[in-house]
Symmetry: C2
Subunit: 204 residues, 2 copies
DNA sequence: GTCTATAACTCGATAGAC
DNA sequence: GTCTATCGAGTTATAGAC
């Protein structure tokens, strides 16, 4: 009974607790008892509402993956010019992650643990299709507006620079003595910093 | 009894097996039985040599973290000019990871799970000190040789672009139908690609 | 050093009262 | 719907023979 609010339904309390526990410990590391304690109820109720641990986990994983991915899609497929698309992407994507900074590591982990589960459940429901962005990059190269670069490398570069720092936070904190508010400020800076970096790297 | 060689000592067989199992499943997901099977011996021997699961895990984690980190140190502290240092770093670092592509996710995970353990055990034994590289970047900015950039962002950018694609491999594979040898070739390309990208982003 | 057998314990799941 | 009590499978760890 750590943070459950009286006016939440049991189901909402369970979901909030499961979110917290699964995201920080993963499927194998999480205990149903931990989730019950966090929700301020008992284990039996977890099974009453969600039948078993795997089913509860799947709800949390899918909502997390959907929080992380579909908005990217929207930006990738928009009709913005390339440089504006890059600026929009870095700003929006880092904003999304700042709201749930532990989600990326959780999602990446579970996708590595079971890539097929991920494929089956996610791909149909809005997993980003970068094809339009990749084609747009090709186009700009052909027109001679930007330097030659394999579009896939460009995409990997942008995504890596947005996501990875959140996974490496403990190393930054420990090694360079950066506290939580300093870290948040660094990530706020990165919204523009990464876009500028990418654009400087490809513009002629 | 999957791949154990007759001429390895039991201890070596156990370490090789533990490496494989812990790195792919993490501490919580790994079973002592899995490790025993992989080593071709029985569970009791694991305890005979390493006393318990946590102690065996710690050996694997520390050797993995040391494989991932200390060579960077060497490059960071070298006397190379900045652009050569960037080229050396991306090439060497991606080479290291190509030899053990699952190590980065494993290490990042376990550091997030228990940051203090990591700090106690690793920092004293050669965890990278980027201070010299950061100072060198400051210096080049002051001399007017490169564009203004917060050195820490530059460092995060380089490391992110080298490491993150390995963690995201299953997504690349599933979404863009990239097989193992294509992936390896992409990462080989990145050795020069990332260096070029970084240098283009900061050179005047 | 290496094995078999089993003790001790953890944890997901269920039965059944209220 | 929610709880207490408990079962039973799976796991780590140890005892003891060889």
């Amino acid at each position: 009974m750590v943070k459950a609010k009286k006016d939440e339904s049991a189901e909402e309390k369970i979901l909030a607790a499961a979110r917290k526990v699964f995201i920080s410990k993963g499927l194998a590391g999480a205990r149903m008892q931990d989730i019950a304690d966090e929700a301020g109820i008992n284990k039996a109720l977890l099974h009453y509402y969600f039948r078993n641990k795997e089913k509860l986990f799947e709800v949390i994983f899918l909502e997390s993956a959907q929080k992380l991915f579909p908005k990217i899609n929207f930006i990738f497929d928009s009709d913005l010019p390339l440089f504006e698309k890059i600026e929009t992407f870095t700003a929006e994507y880092i904003s999304i992650i700042l709201e749930s900074p532990y989600v990326p590591l959780f999602v990446v982990n579970e996708i590595n643990r079971d890539p097929d589960m991920f494929f089956d459940k996610m791909v149909k429901s809005g997993f980003p299709k970068p094809h339009k962005l990749l084609a747009q990059v090709e186009e700009e190269i052909k027109k001679g507006n930007i330097k030659r670069i394999h579009p896939l490398h460009l995409l990997m570069n942008m995504i890596s620079m947005c996501i990875f720092p959140f996974m490496a936070k403990p190393m930054l904190s420990k090694r360079l003595h950066i506290n939580d508010s300093q870290f948040r400020q660094l990530m706020e800076e990165r919204k523009k910093e990464v876009a500028r970096f990418v654009i400087d790297a490809i513009k002629k």
